[in-house]
C-alpha cells in the first residue's frame, strides 16, 4: 500500500509540475523535470537515501520557480505537496523495513497515512485560503513577521533536534 502510494505520488508530482511548465511553453524545463523524475524513481528502487533530500529540494525549487514564472498554482502547489508526500513515504518505508516479517505493519501504515492526509489537507487548504485572502501589510510588518516566523521555526527545529538526540 505504502509503496504503491509512494510511487503514485512521485509520478503525479513530477507529472503535474512538468505539465505546468509544458502548458506554459517551457518544454525543455518539462523534459528536464521528467528526466529528473525517472532518476528519482530509479533512486527509490535502489534505496539511494542520499538522493531523497536532493529530490525534495528539486521538487520545491522547480515548483517555486514555476510560481515565479506565473505558472498556475493549480499545478505547482499540488505537485509540491505530492512530491513532499513521496519524500515522506520513502522515509516511512525505510523505517518499515526494520519490522519483522510477522509484524502488523498495516496498523502503522494506517496511523501514518491518516496523519499525512490531515496534514496535506490542512496545509493545502490553508495555502489556497492564503492565496484567496490577501491582506496588504506595510514593509515593517512583513519584516517583523518574517523574523518571528524564522525565530519560531528555529525554536521548533532546536527542540526537535534536542529531543531526538
Amino acid at each position: 500500500m505504502t509503496t504503491f502510494l509512494r510511487y503514485s505520488c512521485l509520478i503525479l508530482s513530477i507529472g503535474l509540475i512538468a505539465a505546468g511548465y509544458s502548458l506554459n511553453h517551457r518544454e525543455w524545463m518539462a523534459v528536464s523535470i521528467i528526466i529528473f523524475g525517472i532518476l528519482w524513481i530509479f533512486g527509490q528502487t535502489r534505496w539511494w537515501n542520499w538522493f531523497e533530500p536532493v529530490s525534495l529540494f528539486a521538487v520545491f525549487t522547480s515548483a517555486a520557480l514555476g510560481l515565479y514564472m506565473n505558472i498556475s498554482v493549480a499545478f505547482m502547489l499540488p505537485g509540491a505537496l505530492l512530491g513532499f508526500l513521496a519524500w515522506d513515504l520513502a522515509a516511512f518505508t525505510g523505517r518499515l523495513h526494520l519490522a519483522a516479517e510477522d509484524d502488523d505493519t498495516s496498523r502503522l501504515e494506517g496511523i501514518h497515512l491518516r496523519r499525512m492526509t490531515v496534514l496535506m489537507l490542512a496545509s493545502g487548504g490553508l495555502g489556497v485560503l492564503a492565496l484567496r485572502i490577501q491582506i496588504k501589510l506595510s514593509f515593517e510588518w512583513v519584516v517583523l513577521m518574517m523574523f518571528l516566523t524564522v525565530w519560531g521555526i528555529g525554536q521548533i527545529v532546536n527542540w526537535l533536534l534536542k529531543k531526538g538526540r
Partner: protein, 424 residues
C-alpha cells in the same frame, strides 16, 4: 542529513524566496513543511514508561540446539505511535527463527509479545537489555530507552558418551567404584591366591592350587574396585589453542566434557581446573550434579594468557597426592618439565593431546613449504610425546579430524600396561 534540518532549511529558503520576490504562492509552498514540523513537535513522545519481560524456553542448552525466547513489553505510559523494540543479543548468538526486532504501535496499557529462536556457540550469554526506540509516525523525533530484563543463557558443550576410560591411580577412595584398587577383596578380576578362611564361598576355592598342596586349602582373592579422585586439567593458554584465527579449544572442551562424564558415571570424584587467562577451579564432587557443574563451567571458558605464569602451572595442592590427573592440552615443548615433575611426585598422568599440527595444517594451503613445515612440526611433536611417554605418562594423541569417541575407544578403554615407575 537529519530530516528536521532539511525541512528547516527548505522552509527558510521558501520564506526568503517568497519575501524577496513578493510572491505569496511561494510562501504558501512552505505551509506543508511548517505543518509537518509542528505535527512532529506536537506528537513527539514524552518520557517512555515501558516494562520488559523475557522468558526463555531453557537457560542451559547444548550447543547446536535452539532456544525459544518470548519477549513481552508493556506500555505503562501514554500511547506510542511507532516503537522499535530490539532485544539486544550478545555476539556469538544468532537468530535462527523469527526476529529479535519488533516494530509496533503501542496504545496506553497495551502489551507487545513476540517470539524468536536463538542458536549459539558454546558460552555464557547475558540477556539484559531490550532497547526501545519510540517516535511519532513522521519520524522526526526519536526517544530511546534501555529496558532492563533478567536473562541468561548457557550453551553447553556436547557430551559424548564414552563406554569406559580405564585408569589406574595409585590411590583410591574407600567407596566402591570401577577402579582396580590393587588390594584383595571382593571384586571381579582375579588378584591373588591365599589360604582358605572361614566364610569363604566354596566357589572361590582354587582347586588346582589345593590339589598341588594337599595339606592346605586355597581360595582365590579378587581385586577390589573402588572410586578414585580424578583431576581434569584443561589447558586454555592462547599459545596452545589459537592458530591462525582458528581455535582448537572447542575440541579440548568436548574431550573434557566426555571424560568428565565417563569418570563421574564410573562413580569417581572429579574436579576441573581450567588454566587460561585466569584459573577456574571446579571443586571435586560426585554424580550428576557435579557433571552439571563441570558443564556449566566449561561453557564459560575462553582461551587467554595468564598475566602471572608463562608456563603451564598446575597447583598441586588442589589435587590429592597420587590421585589421577588428566591433562587436556596440545602441549608445548617447555611443558615437559612441569609434567615430568608431576610424575616424579607420584601423580599418575593421562594426557589427552589434540594434535595442533594437523589442526593448523587443515587451515593452510597445501604448498611445498607448508608440507615441509608440517613434517618438521610433526617430528618435533612426536619427539615431545615420546619423551613424555618415557616418564610413564599415558599420552593419547588425538587427530581432531577424527571423532573423539573413536580415539577414546581405541586408546582409553583398555587398561594400559603399567608404566615405568608404577610397579606394584
Amino acid at each position: 542529513m537529519n530530516r528536521t534540518l532539511i525541512l528547516a532549511l527548505l522552509i527558510f529558503l521558501l520564506i526568503f524566496a517568497g519575501l524577496a520576490t513578493i510572491q505569496p504562492p511561494i510562501l504558501a509552498l512552505s505551509f506543508p513543511l511548517i505543518f509537518y514540523l509542528l505535527a512532529g513537535t506536537w506528537e513527539a513522545p514524552e518520557k517512555l514508561d515501558l516494562r520488559a519481560e523475557r522468558i526463555s524456553s531453557a537457560e542451559r542448552v547444548l550447543t547446536g540446539k535452539e532456544v525459544t525466547i518470548t519477549v513481552k513489553v508493556m506500555n505503562q505510559g501514554k500511547a506510542l505511535e511507532e516503537v522499535l523494540l530490539e532485544d539486544q543479543i550478545p555476539d556469538g548468538l544468532v537468530v535462527s527463527h523469527g526476529s529479535n526486532r519488533h516494530l509496533v504501535a503501542l496504545s496506553d496499557g497495551e502489551t507487545a509479545t513476540w517470539t524468536y529462536s536463538l542458536r549459539g556457540r558454546r558460552g555464557y550469554y547475558g540477556l539484559k537489555i531490550v532497547r526501545a526506540t519510540a517516535g511519532e509516525t513522521l519520524g522526526l523525533v526519536k526517544t530511546g530507552q534501555d529496558l532492563q530484563t533478567e536473562g541468561q543463557l548457557f550453551f553447553l558443550p556436547p557430551v559424548l558418551r564414552l563406554r569406559r576410560v580405564a585408569i589406574q591411580p595409585r590411590r583410591t577412595r574407600i567407596f566402591s567404584g570401577t577402579i582396580p584398587a590393587r588390594q584383595g577383596g571382593s571384586g571381579v578380576e582375579f588378584f591373588d591366591v591365599r589360604d582358605y578362611q572361614k566364610g569363604d564361598s566354596p566357589r572361590w576355592i582354587n582347586w588346582r592350587a589345593t590339589a598341588r598342596h594337599p595339606q592346605n586349602v586355597y581360595s582365590n582373592e579378587f581385586e577390589q574396585e573402588r572410586s578414585a579422585d580424578v583431576g581434569l586439567i584443561l589447558d586454555g593458554r592462547r599459545r596452545t589453542n589459537d592458530f591462525n584465527n582458528r581455535s582448537i579449544i572447542e575440541h579440548s572442551v568436548i574431550a573434557t566434557a566426555a571424560l568428565a562424564d565417563a569418570f563421574l558415571s564410573a562413580g569417581n570424584r572429579v574436579g576441573l581446573l581450567f588454566y587460561g587467562r585466569q584459573m577456574i577451579w571446579t571443586m571435586p564432587g560426585y554424580g550428576k550434579l557435579q557433571g552439571e557443574r563441570i558443564l556449566h563451567d566449561l561453557s564459560r571458558l575462553e582461551p587467554g594468557d595468564s598475566q602471572n605464569f608463562n608456563e603451564l602451572y598446575i597447583p598441586r595442592h588442589l589435587f590429592p597426592p597420587r590421585s589421577q590427573l588428566v591433562l587436556i592440552s596440545s602441549l608445548l615443548d617447555e611443558d615437559y618439565d612441569v609434567l615430568a615433575a608431576l610424575r616424579l611426585r607420584g601423580y599418575p598422568l593421562l594426557v589427552v593431546c589434540p594434535d595442533p599440527v594437523s589442526f593448523e595444517a587443515g587451515g593452510l594451503p597445501r604448498k611445498p613449504t607448508n608440507l615441509l613445515a608440517l613434517r618438521i612440526a610433526s617430528l618435533q611433536r612426536a619427539a615431545l610425546l615420546r619423551r613424555l611417554r618415557g616418564t610413564g605418562t599415558r599420552v593419547v594423541d588425538w587427530d581432531t579430524s577424527q571423532p573423539f569417541e573413536q580415539t577414546a575407544s581405541r586408546e582409553l578403554e583398555r587398561r594400559s600396561v603399567s608404566p615405568r615407575g608404577d610397579k606394584r
